[in-house]
């Protein structure tokens, strides 16, 4: 009886490890909740949390911009496509500012001196927040930069672009939110 117990315990332990591995892989899958909702024509509430302001004091969150359209853009100074889209986002900022809205940058895994150098280099006038813990990016299902989310005045996601934005995407998405 004892002799049979050892292989049985070994098999159970191996099965438990395999089960854990499967659970781990499944639980680390992409978070597509927002994409699925937007693709169905819904406007899901935009995840929010207060974050420190890049190059400034205090914290700010999306709640500070409630009532205004916001283009939320996750970026980092090390991200090459972020350099391509920076001028497009800056021109979108001019359009949004005229209607009381804003582009709101969120830096991800980036040291603030590097982020600030990027802001100066591309003469960005819109504010950016620092997602140091990566929790906001996680809530948006962000896995690669850049990613852009267009929010209406009620803080709901109306359009998503995972990858560098195009002028067409911004024109269409801004028109949808009345800009």
């Amino acid at each position: 009886m004892k002799r049979n117990a050892v292989p049985l315990v070994a098999i159970l332990a191996a099965a438990a490890l395999i089960g854990l591995l499967v659970y781990g892989v499944a639980s680390r899958g992409e978070n597509r909740t927002l994409d699925d909702a937007v693709s169905k024509g819904q406007r899901p509430a935009a995840p929010d949390r207060p974050l420190p302001v890049l190059g400034g004091a205090g914290q700010r969150s999306l709640a500070n911009y409630r009532g205004k359209p916001v283009v939320l853009n996750f970026w980092a100074s090390w991200c090459t496509p972020c350099r391509q889209e920076a001028p497009l986002l800056e021109s979108a900022q001019k359009r949004l500012a005229a209607k009381g809205g804003t582009v709101l940058g969120v830096t991800f895994r980036d040291a603030s001196p590097d982020s600030q150098a990027f802001v100066r280099k591309f003469k960005l006038t819109y504010p950016s927040l620092r997602d140091v813990s990566g929790q906001l990016a996680k809530a948006y299902g962000t896995r690669a930069l850049p990613e852009t989310f267009v929010l209406d005045g009620q803080g709901r996601v109306t359009a998503i672009n995972r990858g560098p934005v195009s002028k067409d995407f911004l024109d269409t998405a801004l028109t949808q939110v009345g800009v």
């Binding site: 639980s27 090390w78 895994r109 040291a111 140091v132 813990s133």
Partner: protein
């Protein structure tokens, strides 16, 4: 004379002890830090990472060291800039607990296995030791002993 020297030595040690205890930790070095942190983009330890981001992180560490910060302070500054993932330790939520629990369970299983198996092995080897002389050295008869002596003497020549 010897007693005085001993008293002086003890007094000197008593004076030095608190100073040693509260002395500031030694300044750290880049190699000392970079093998304990991650390149946040490459997903590898910084000391083996080869990318522009890794170089930025190294420059950041060197700048912090130049400010006279200790290893713990440099790591703290890295977390403040790059987030807790720069330390490469599980964050504690969801599946991450497995990174702590599984190795602990494996160690416990190994210890349990040893506790269970070692006494068995010792019993078995004890049995073999007591049985070994009778199996390994059968007694020689007088004729065999004589032949053996003759053979050895022949080889010695």
């Amino acid at each position: 004379m010897a007693r005085r020297a001993l008293i002086a030595l003890l007094a000197a040690l008593a004076l030095l002890a608190p100073a040693t205890a509260f002395a500031a930790p030694a300044r750290t070095t880049l190699p000392d830090v970079e093998d304990e942190v991650m390149c946040v983009l490459c997903g590898t330890a910084l000391n083996v990472a080869d990318s522009a981001q890794a170089d930025r992180e190294r420059a950041f560490i060197e700048a912090e060291i130049a400010k006279g910060k200790t290893k713990a302070q440099v790591k703290q500054a890295l977390v403040a800039e790059y987030g807790p993932q720069v330390l490469g330790t599980p964050e504690g939520g969801g599946f991450d607990w497995a990174a702590w629990v599984v190795p602990s369970l494996v160690v416990l299983a190994l210890i349990g296995g040893l506790i269970f198996l070692v006494p068995r092995w010792r019993r078995r080897s004890g049995t073999m030791d007591s049985a070994a002389p009778t199996l390994a050295t059968p007694a020689l008869s007088a004729a065999e002993a004589r032949r053996l002596e003759e053979d050895i003497a022949r080889y010695d020549r």
